[in-house]
């Protein structure tokens, strides 16, 4: 056990910090805001491209994919440095964290060049089409159909909750290619450009605000998709799905730890009950970092422990939820203001600054619902960590 990182990791941190200090976009440049998780303002595109070209976007990747073959601990301090300055990693988080990552793991060389690199350099943006009206937690029951017709797949069906789809250039779409196989075995993954005829996107508001439009319904009506857009092997989509979300998970807990630490800075306890909740928040943040760093150490040795990462997601997402509820209560009537100002001004992250307490609390439910709900995580932990029998 050690409280600090070794000198080489700290050197890496210092190098990145110096890069940020020298290159961060100025306040004057960053006026234009993002409207959705796949809408990236021009300045943010330039910034992400600079990170990519300098090997600082995803340092764990090889140089041709925006990295410098950094170790997992170096990737960790890289994210810490971004967050310390309240800088978004990307304005197209699914594109960077899930879609490009899936393509780099499962895609062909041609797909990496044609799709992954442009997504990482934000020449295009991407959205994730997994969920359907009838397939949420039970993702494997998805019904959007794709039938091979010569050198094209013909796709029919519907996705929902597809964050940012209306601003995205391409959708990583999970489709059923073998309706007769057991449900996990008949799924495939297709890259579907959103300008393909037959694709209809209908964005709609979130509970936060009518104008907070990120969700989409996406309809596919005889959409013809070139067969070369198949990602991974035919009917091997379940494997890709686990991998796609797996990418996100190794460091997902860190985003909760960072949010908790932001809450520790922004939450103003007023009375003894607030202070009590505040202390729990501080403890949750510390515990999450401790447990997360142990998970990182395991990952650094190449051990995959997906179920243990569920513990971190549960702990982190629920801690953020409790703390933001308490911060809202402690703000009292002032928390009614929407949009509000609950974070210090940070020109690279104005969304956090202008989010009222209700918004911050409500957004915490993305953590407990998306990417496997808390209930599903509990069942996973019970069966795969605690060894309890399946029902």
């Amino acid at each position: 056990m050690q409280l600090t990182f070794d000198a080489d990791v700290e050197r890496f941190r210092a190098e990145f910090a110096a890069f940020l200090d020298a290159n961060l976009p100025s306040e004057a440049e960053t006026g234009e805001r993002a409207y959705s998780s796949a809408h990236v303002p021009e300045w943010a595109r330039r910034w992400q491209r600079l990170l990519f070209d300098s090997g600082w976007l995803l340092p764990g990747n090889p140089p041709e994919f925006g990295g410098r073959n950094a170790s997992i601990l170096e990737q960790y301090v890289h994210l810490e440095e971004l967050d310390r300055r309240r800088i978004y990693h990307s304005f197209n988080p699914q594109g960077l964290g899930i879609i490009a990552a899936s393509l780099l793991s499962f895609g062909s060389e041609e797909q990496k060049r044609r799709w992954a690199v442009p997504i990482l350099r934000v020449e295009i943006t991407a959205a994730l089409g997994m969920s359907e009206p009838g397939a949420g937690s039970d993702l494997a029951s998805l019904r959007t159909r794709a039938v091979l017709d010569g050198d094209h797949f013909v796709v029919n069906g519907q996705k929902i909750w597809t964050s940012g789809a209306h601003d995205a250039d391409v959708l990583l779409t999970f489709v059923r290619t073998d309706p007769d196989a057991p449900k996990h075995k008949g799924i495939s993954v297709l890259l579907i450009p959103t300008d393909t005829p037959g694709v209809t996107r209908r964005p709609f508001g979130s509970l936060i605000d009518r104008d907070d439009v990120d969700f989409n319904e996406v309809f596919f009506d005889d959409v013809r998709v070139p067969a070369e857009n198949l990602v991974g092997a035919l009917n091997n989509g379940w494997h890709v799905a686990n991998g796609s979300l797996g990418h996100e998970r190794t460091l997902l807990w860190l985003s909760f730890a960072l949010r908790l630490e932001e809450l520790a800075r922004d939450f103003r306890p007023v009375d003894a009950l607030d202070r009590d909740a505040y202390a729990r928040l501080v403890m949750d943040a510390q515990a999450l970092r401790l447990l997360g760093s142990a998970a990182l150490a395991r990952a650094a040795r190449g051990e995959q422990d997906v179920a243990a990462l569920s513990v971190l997601k549960l702990l982190g997402s629920e801690a953020v939820q409790k703390a933001s509820e308490q911060a809202m209560e402690s703000a009292g009537v002032a928390a009614l203001e929407h949009p509000g100002m609950t974070a210090p001004y940070a020109h690279l992250n104005l969304e956090a600054f202008s989010a009222g307490w209700f918004e911050r609390y409500a957004r915490s439910f993305a953590g407990t619902i998306a990417g496997g709900t808390s209930e599903i995580q509990r069942t996973i932990v019970a069966e795969r960590v605690l060894g309890l029998p399946r029902s």
């Binding site: 056990m1 009590d276 202390a279 501080v282 403890m283 447990l291 990182l296 069942t379 309890l388 029902s391």
Partner: protein, 332 residues
């Protein structure tokens, strides 16, 4: 930060665990609780194995490993009091085989021509009735006092193998050389961390027993552990335990490194352990059904040790008040 046992630490834990499985089985605990058996031979086993020599602050993580395992085994000896109450307040005073504890409040020291006179009464002193020596904290400093000089009476408590005593010092005379020079503020951190680890170990035992139970007990034609309501309660126990365990070892690590966060970390460890025992007690006893509600079930020992730990040296809420204050003073 890299928060993982290294291979030596893993081996150490395994060794301790194996010794306790053999030397401190539930039958021994039950013998002490029901028949008044003497735990002294067990204490000598610990001393012979060198566990009582982990007195350097730099060995805090190794000590922590022992303490967690002892919590798991519901240790019936005065190890916790000796190593985490007495030793930090009176470093170098006792030799390996001796036991100790501490009187943390209730005693005042008066100076006269011949030295010091210590007077007062302290309630709820851990192992106050069976420690060879006591470290007595007063406004004038900490004094090491042989047990023979004080009057101690064991008090009945719900944990049948825990020793709690009322200790009175009716004008005990000591010389200047009895003053240990220790800083009670720093000593507090190890005492809190030790209790936190005890609770964590006891909670781990409750979870293990509960998991065994729900895997084997059948109702409605299925193991009750296959029911989702049962699974989710078990997971909440596990998550609370992981959190508390991480914070307890973090506290030990800050002591070993003499890191400035050690005071905050010790309170976080104690508070998290307290929160953990609350979930673990509630869900553990609930999932056992009536079977857990009996004197015969060994579950009781770990349950009681966990709650007893929460009640000593300030509960979770008290420490959370301290955490909020410390953290905001340092960061905001």
């Amino acid at each position: 930060m890299l928060f993982e046992f290294d291979s030596d630490q893993r081996l150490w834990q395994k060794t301790i665990h194996e010794v306790l499985v053999k030397e401190c089985p539930p039958a021994l605990i039950r013998g002490i609780a029901d028949e008044g058996a003497d735990p002294a031979p067990l204490w000598r086993v610990y001393a012979d194995l060198g566990w009582t020599e982990l007195t350097e602050p730099s060995e805090a993580v190794e000590l922590a490993i022992v303490l967690e395992e002892l919590g798991w085994a519901t240790d019936p000896t005065p190890y916790l009091a000796t190593m985490t109450w007495f030793t930090p307040l009176a470093p170098g005073v006792a030799d390996g085989g001796q036991t100790g504890s501490a009187v943390l409040d209730g005693v005042s020291a008066r100076r006269d021509r011949d030295g010091w006179v210590l007077s007062g009464v302290a309630r709820h002193v851990l192992d106050g009735d069976r420690a060879d020596r006591l470290a007595v904290v007063t406004d004038a400093g900490v004094f090491a006092v042989p047990a023979a000089d004080v009057r101690a009476t064991r008090v009945d408590v719900f944990d049948p193998t825990l020793h709690i005593a009322e200790v009175s010092l009716p004008g005990v005379r000591v010389g200047d050389d009895a003053r240990t020079g220790a800083d009670p503020r720093a000593a507090r951190d190890l005492a809190l961390t030790g209790l936190a680890l005890t609770i964590v170990g006891a909670c781990r035992r409750v979870l293990e027993l509960t998991l065994d139970h729900v895997r084997t007990r059948e109702q409605f034609g299925a193991p009750i552990g296959s029911f989702q309501a049962v699974k989710h309660k078990a997971v909440d126990m596990h998550v609370a335990l992981e959190r508390a365990r991480a914070l307890a070892y973090f506290a030990a690590l800050t002591i070993a490194a003499d890191d400035p966060r050690r005071r905050l970390a010790a309170s976080m460890a104690k508070a998290a352990a307290g929160e953990c025992q609350s979930v673990v007690f509630r869900n553990g006893l609930q999932l056992f059904g009536a079977m857990g509600f009996t004197w015969e079930n060994d579950l009781q020992f770990a349950l009681k040790r966990a709650v007893a730990g929460e009640l000593l040296l300030g509960g979770a809420a008290e420490h959370r008040a301290l955490i909020a204050e410390e953290y905001r003073a340092a960061h905001v």
